[in-house]
């Protein structure tokens, strides 16, 4: 064997490989780099001469106005529910693909992912004679492996040439919903491989001379359940980008190329400088939080996300090592690029909301992960429900950063506990009452409960973890387009709160059924039915776990016609406890439900969740406790049990003195129960995760990863992590049933033989 290769030979081999690429798949060189690329020659030439900050300020205002205009266009013209209710963005990138600016109110993660496909286009298509990049071209993309949150989002990206020179890139992205996956609605939790995820568009040219190519549009329409939506929103994104282009060209006409190139670059560099300055304001040290995902959306299984944030001077390192391994055949994975984009969102949404929305906010932050972990998944794995780890990334900052920020004299926003971080909304699909085939999701995803703050209760249903001013919508309008009827549209979920000195903002119940469709179904893609999603801060409680409830085998419309008093009120707890509808099959399930057909009048019930609480419940002002009781958000029993408040049942007047005494007693009892830390550890810490618990991730050592694969517990070094393969839940159920049959057969045989 001749394994010594000369440098010359190696160069020839490398050239051969470069010239003979079989498949231009996701490129790790692009996908693993979230940093702002170094100054290009053009940028260096402009900035080395000195650039007027006030001129940049002026041009920034013009670019922002243009982005705002194009954002409004998409919002108003878009047909996807995501576009209508705020799940969209427009953005501008430098010529070498750095994300420079995002439309105010736009979804940061979308734009923070779209620079990856732009870099892919620059690297691969720019000089490819069969593709090329020229003025008037537009590229479409949806495959998150090339950059993106998940394949339900589609982006249109357009290069802007000015006087023959590529000056910048422009993009528009919408959460479209339906994408031809194995389940309707674009979020297939049942996807077992990437081939179940529907259309997978690597970046390709779909527009020439500012016109959509009808052959390609037809191909895409043919690949999804809702061809109308596909066509309509491709036009929308194209025309929004064209409008943005028109405005940017006007800026170039007025101020020249150098002004725009210099402004975009300064915007990035100034932001980076500011982020480093803010990091250096923080005390040095390490703070941590552990997050858990409790479901793969097919089965209950604990997946750890380990977070440690270290500050050293102006360096910040986010260390996610010890996190659960990726699934080979479950859709809750994410690739690292998407994960970082969600981190950028979380930083801007929860910690430094006054920073400009650009990739430069994350660029100075170092991110360490284990390859093949659930947040750094690679290969053929599905990632259609990457929202699960991505939403965790959005809130990962809150608890560790609260510890860094708490004592700083200047804070950039409030100290806040974790927001509820689940996509608690109905995903749907089927035939509408108008005969259209559709698949999408409801705007209720936008109403997540806020974490409690150091100064106030969290706001109820304030926003999604990934966006600003997003809209949970109007059901009267939604009911025109789909057969979904809300029996419970929005009812605050009493008692299901993250308690604390300040309580989390609450979520609300959603009770849905369908009417007038021959074929309709729902799915829900949520975790947090076993293990709470939103953690409390400084002694505050986590939110509770939330389940999916169903009443099947009935038609509520017929029941209401027969007896209008059959239901007193559509309230989940009353319906499940009292079970008033005769003949109904009532069930409580975890919130990871793959697509399921719903006959007319069958009922599905879920909850938007509460944010985590802040501080000790014994410090909560009794007046605030009683306000919650009066508003029917809290049961009197819980007011007593959790908050230790003494009050009169009828008048709800608090006995202040008795309350103070009771709380003092409880504090004494706590002290009595207290143990030294070492003793606590001795009693509680185990060398391994409990044997009965399906568990993924490190235990006490981040270098060792536990996993359950095909039902077997395995342990592996973190640097050699392998993906986890899960058996089909139906096969598992069949095996169990077969086992029971065998047992019964054996019993029968035994009975017969004893006779």
């Amino acid at each position: 064997m001749h394994d010594k290769i000369s440098a010359e030979d190696q160069a020839l081999l490398d050239k051969f490989l470069a010239d003979n690429k079989m498949f231009l798949g996701p490129d790790p060189e692009i996908m693993r780099n979230h940093g702002v690329a170094p100054r290009s020659e053009a940028e260096e030439a402009v900035l080395s001469k000195g650039f007027d900050a006030h001129r940049a300020h002026h041009i920034r205002g013009l670019v922002n106005a243009a982005l705002s205009e194009s954002f409004q266009m998409v919002n108003q013209m878009g047909a996807a529910p995501g576009a209508k209710w705020g799940d969209l963005v427009t953005a501008i990138y430098t010529a070498n693909g750095n994300l420079a600016m995002i439309a105010p109110h736009g979804i940061i993660t979308f734009a923070a992912c779209a620079f990856y496909p732009i870099r892919f286009i620059i690297k691969n298509w720019m000089d490819d004679p069969t593709v090329g990049v020229k003025d008037g071209d537009g590229f479409i993309h949806n495959d998150a492996r090339y950059g993106g949150v998940h394949n339900t989002d589609q982006s249109m990206m357009m290069p802007l040439y000015y006087k023959g020179e590529l000056i910048c890139w422009l993009s528009s992205t919408i959460h479209e919903g339906e994408n031809g996956a194995c389940e309707p609605g674009g979020l297939p939790a049942a996807a077992e491989s990437k081939y179940d995820e529907g259309i997978k568009m690597s970046p390709f040219k779909v527009v020439e001379n500012f016109q959509l190519k009808r052959d390609l549009v037809t191909f895409l329409q043919n690949s999804v359940r809702d061809p109308k939506l596909q066509l309509e929103d491709m036009k929308v994104k194209l025309h929004a980008v064209m409008r943005l282009r028109e405005r940017i060209v006007a800026i170039l006409d007025q101020f020249g190329r150098e002004a725009l190139i210099g402004t975009m670059r300064m915007h990035l560099e100034d932001t980076e400088v500011e982020v480093r300055r803010r990091i250096s304001e923080l005390p040095d040290g390490t703070t941590r939080v552990l997050q858990f995902m409790d479901s793969s959306l097919r089965e209950n299984i604990m997946q750890k996300i380990s977070v440690a944030i270290t500050v050293k001077g102006d360096r910040m390192i986010m260390d996610f090592r010890g996190t659960a391994p990726q699934f080979l055949n479950r859709s809750v994975n994410t690739n690292l690029a998407s994960f970082k984009a969600a981190l950028a969102t979380g930083l801007l949404q929860n910690i430094w909301p006054d920073l400009p929305h650009t990739m430069a906010v994350l660029s100075p932050i170092e991110v360490i992960t284990d390859r093949n972990s659930i947040i750094d998944a690679e290969g053929e794995m599905p990632q259609a429900m990457s929202l699960m780890p991505l939403f965790k990334a959005c809130v990962a900052w809150t608890i560790p950063m609260a510890k860094f920020n708490y004592s700083l004299p200047k804070k950039y926003s409030a100290i806040i506990a974790s927001q509820y971080d689940q996509a608690a909304t109905f995903i749907y699909g089927g035939l509408t009452q108008h005969g259209d085939v559709t698949g999408n999701f409801c705007g209720d995803i936008n109403g997540m409960g806020q974490g409690a703050r150091s100064h106030a209760d969290g706001e109820h249903s304030v926003s999604p973890v990934f966006g600003f001013m997003a809209d949970s919508g109007e059901h009267e309008i939604n009911e025109e387009d789909t057969p979904i009827i809300r029996l419970g549209a929005q009812r605050l979920a009493k008692d299901r709160i993250g308690f604390g000195k300040y309580r989390g903002g609450m979520g609300y119940e959603q009770i849905a059924t369908a009417r007038g469709s021959g074929l309709w179904g729902f799915m829900t893609g949520c975790e947090g039915s076993k293990f709470p999603s939103a953690q409390g801060l400084f002694g505050g409680y986590s939110c509770p776990s939330y389940q999916l409830m169903k009443i099947k085998g009935i038609n509520i419309f017929e029941e209401l016609k027969k007896n209008p008093n059959v239901v007193e009120v559509f309230d989940i707890i009353k319906l499940m406890n009292e079970r008033p509808i005769p003949g109904g099959k009532y069930s409580s399930n975890d919130m990871g439900m793959t697509f399921e057909l719903c006959s007319d009048g069958e009922i599905y019930m879920i909850c938007q969740g509460s944010g985590g609480g802040y501080g000790d419940v014994l410090e909560r002002d009794p007046a605030l406790v009683m306000k919650d009781v009066r508003e029917d958000l809290l049961s009197p029993d819980l007011a007593r049990e959790i908050y230790q408040v003494v009050f009169d049942d009828k008048s709800l007047v608090v006995d202040e003195e008795a309350t103070a005494k009771l709380r003092a007693d409880v504090r004494r009892q706590r002290l009595a129960r207290g143990k030294p830390f070492d003793q606590f550890c001795k009693e509680w810490v185990t060398p391994e995760p409990p044997a009965h618990l399906p568990y993924l991730g490190s235990w006490d050592n981040n270098a060792e990863i536990y996993a359950s694969s095909m039902g077997q517990r395995v342990k592996m070094p973190a640097d050699q992590m392998q993906g986890v393969f899960m058996p089909n839940p139906k096969d598992v159920a069949i095996m169990q049933l077969e086992g029971e049959v065998e047992k019964l057969k054996a019993q029968l045989a035994e009975c017969q033989s004893s006779k």
Binding site: K84, P104, G435, E474, R486, L487, A489, E568
Partner: protein, 709 residues
């Protein structure tokens, strides 16, 4: 024509009197404790100029018209009755949750981004005052859950026992079938007859807003109920005051729809923002009378910058879900966007980008800019204007507010100069440059989002600071012509004198003009026409009730249309008041196609995905005689400038050195006068800043053109 129109603003009560051929403006401070006092003083100011007694004037005028911010103030001060709300079971938390985004409605962009500090406004209706009732109707109007009348009685009783002073009923899909809301009112009147002492009003949501969207309709109805008493008493007192002074006709009230009606035909909600909307109405009439073409109306005051659009082709721009204070409502309000840019906008150092940011925080009028010498320490736009030499410290606001230049300089130095490493003058220039650029961007975004280009518009600049910043805004916007209209300091009052008596009625509809699934076109003409007829009937009855002759009533049909499942609803004004053939259906779709293409770009239309009408709207109105505006085209006359009253050294954006600047007074307003910039014209009402490169052209009736050479 003899007419009085009044705009009661937060600070001033403006009065505009037409007395045959004489147009006179009056001004007085608003007297919040009794609005009649401010009105009387303002009217007295105008009468003095006419040499008339108020009583004589009031006994002879054909109408008195009001626009007022009373409603806005009542909301801010939370002055209103305790309201109880009945909603459909399952929708109990719709109002408190405010579509999630309610945390940020009515706030600045920066505040909207700062979610960790989010705070919803104190609710108008606390949660315990919302009760659910068993009933439900679907989107087509089918009642699938019969109203439980016993439940209704019980919930009403609970609300009344909890102290409700007004009741609102907001049932889901009541706009397509109001039967249950109407039945609730019957039950309510059975239980609580109107003749009983302590009887309380009940408002039904479908009667306040005809459009789908349960949250926005609910807040509209709540707001209407909340403001009713305050508005009724406030405006009723004004009407009594008029009666006492000899005015014996019905008082007319401006609406935010751009029309007006008698007090007893006005919903409280219709009066909110009617002052600024009247300014747009004045702009519309001025544009038509003076042949200005398309107009963008801008009003720069002390705390805000309002922008409105007037299309010469008659396209109406409404906000269907405007935000009033902190709440989204459902009412067709003339489109008006407000930016946080005014004389009081605070300038702060932007450390990240090394420049100056303006607003949205404002020093308001109390303490006001630092130069007001009332304790304000933050530098503002007015401070910069003073430092740059544009304002006369002794003659600001007609001498009402003395200015202290030393305070202005100190505030700018303390807060900005060191960080920027710039002297106070350069810093003041930067403030002016940035505030003007911000307003220009606001105008550009507003116009372009609707498919217009600023260069195709005449920009009207009014309000206290409008003519002062007109050239700067125009420079940033790249336009070369701006008009400070006649009567600019009382422009909204003037506008109230120019609106028609009008009522708008609308209804949500599911009218599919083209269905791509079945390839069919709409042919249920009777159903569509009946809808239009019903809306015309309601408008007609409104106007007849106010004594309008039937033969003078006109109707304008507007249809909100969309492609496929879009959210956008482009308003199409159509001449066809009825549909009778497929050809007309195609013509309607064609009209929508053109209008949509003009707004979003040719080729962006998607008729192949279906075409639908979402809302039918009928504006019923009676044309009223208008205030005659003169032709405001640039005068051929070329009168030399009058003698300057003084000279000041001023600093200008884009000019390195200070320039000697002549100062003129009212004499400069003689039609045909031309004054090259730099120059300043300070009149009783406002200050006109003519920047270098611009020329002041005095037009008729006190209007002023700024023309860039």
């Amino acid at each position: 024509m003899k007419r009085v129109s009044v705009d009661i603003g937060g600070t001033f009560t403006d009065c505009f009197v037409v007395w045959d051929n004489q147009y006179v403006e009056g001004k007085a401070l608003t007297t919040h404790h009794n609005l009649a006092l401010g009105f009387n003083e303002s009217l007295g100011d105008a009468c003095k100029q006419l040499g008339l007694e108020s009583s004589k004037l009031l006994s002879e005028v054909d109408s008195v018209r009001y626009s007022t911010t009373l409603g806005t103030n009542a909301l801010i001060e939370r002055k209103g009755p305790r309201i109880g709300v009945l909603v459909t079971t399952g929708f109990k938390s719709t109002i408190p949750l405010s579509r999630a985004r309610g945390y940020g409605e009515g706030l600045s962009e920066h505040e909207q981004m700062d979610i960790p500090n989010a705070s919803r406004p104190e609710p108008i209706v606390p949660i315990p005052m919302i009760r659910e009732v068993r009933e439900r109707i679907d989107y087509l109007g089918d009642v699938f859950w019969k109203l439980d009348e016993d439940d209704v009685r019980l919930r009403i009783r609970e609300l009344v026992d909890s102290g409700a002073e007004a009741l609102v009923v907001m049932f889901t899909n009541s706009v397509v079938n109001p039967v249950n809301e109407l039945r609730v009112r019957e039950i309510f009147l059975e239980e609580y007859p109107a003749h009983l002492l302590g009887a309380i009003p009940m408002l039904l949501s479908h009667q306040v807003a005809g459009r789908k969207g349960e949250y926005a309709r609910g807040t509209s109805t709540i707001m209407d109920a909340f403001l009713h008493q305050t508005m009724y008493h406030g405006l009723g007192t004004l009407e009594l005051n008029l009666r006492a002074q000899g005015y014996n006709k019905p008082m007319l009230v401006s609406h935010n729809s751009g029309g007006m009606a008698q007090l007893n035909s006005t919903d409280a909600l219709q009066t909110v923002h009617s002052g600024p909307v009247s300014g747009i109405a004045a702009s519309e009439h001025l544009a038509a009378a003076a042949e200005l073409g398309n107009v963008v109306a801008t009003d720069m005051g002390g705390t805000s910058f309002d922008i409105g659009i007037v299309d010469q082709g008659g396209v109406k721009h409404y906000d269907f879900n405007p935000v009033i204070d902190r709440w989204m409502v459902s009412i067709p309000m003339v489109h008006l966007v407000t930016l946080g840019a005014g004389g009081g906008s605070i300038a702060r150092y932007d450390r990240m980008f090394g420049s100056v940011e303006l607003g949205p925080q404002s020093a308001g009028s109390d303490p006001g800019p630092a130069c007001y010498d009332r304790g304000g320490l933050k530098p503002t736009v007015t401070d910069a204007d003073l430092v740059l030499g544009y304002l006369d410290p002794k003659n600001y606001a007609n001498g009402r507010i003395p200015l202290n230049p030393r305070r202005a300089k100190q505030a700018i130095e303390d807060e900005l100069c060191d960080d920027l490493d710039m002297d106070v003058t350069e810093t003041a220039k930067l403030i002016k440059r940035n505030v003007d650029a911000g307003m220009a961007n606001g105008i550009a975004t507003e116009l372009r989002t609707r498919g217009y280009e600023p260069k195709d518009f005449t920009i009207l600049a009014y309000g206290g600071n409008g003519p002062l910043h007109a050239c700067g805004v125009a420079n940033a916007l790249g336009v070369s012509k701006i008009l400070a209209p006649p009567f600019s300091s009382t422009f909204s009052a003037c506008g109230a004198g120019n609106v028609n008596q009008m009522h708008i009625h609308e209804m949500s509809t599911w009218t599919v003009l083209f269905n791509p699934a079945t390839k069919s076109f709409y042919n249920q003409y009777d159903s569509f026409n009946k809808g239009v007829e019903e809306l015309e009937r309601r408008g007609r009855e409104d106007l007849i009730r106010q004594g309008m002759p039937t033969d003078q009533i006109r109707y304008r049909l507007e249809l909100d249309m969309r492609y496929g499942n879009q959210r956008v609803q482009t308003a199409v004004v159509t001449e066809m008041n009825r549909l009778t053939s497929q050809r007309e259906v195609l013509a309607l779709m064609d009209q929508f196609h053109k209008s949509y293409g003009a707004r979003f770009g040719e080729g962006s239309q998607s008729p192949e995905t279906g075409v639908r009408i979402n809302t039918i709207r009928v504006c019923s109105y009676v044309e009223q005689p208008k205030v005659a505006f003169a032709k405001l085209k640039l005068s051929d006359k070329k009168l030399a400038p009058p003698e300057p009253v003084s000279q000041r050294t001023c600093h200008y954006v884009g000019q390195d050195k200070a320039l000697d600047t002549p100062i003129y007074d009212d004499k400069a307003l003689v039609e045909g006068t031309r004054i090259p910039g730099p120059a300043i014209v300070t009149t009783r009402a406002t200050t006109y800043l003519v920047e270098p490169g611009w020329t002041f052209h005095a037009a008729a009736q006190g209007g002023v053109w700024f023309i860039k050479e």
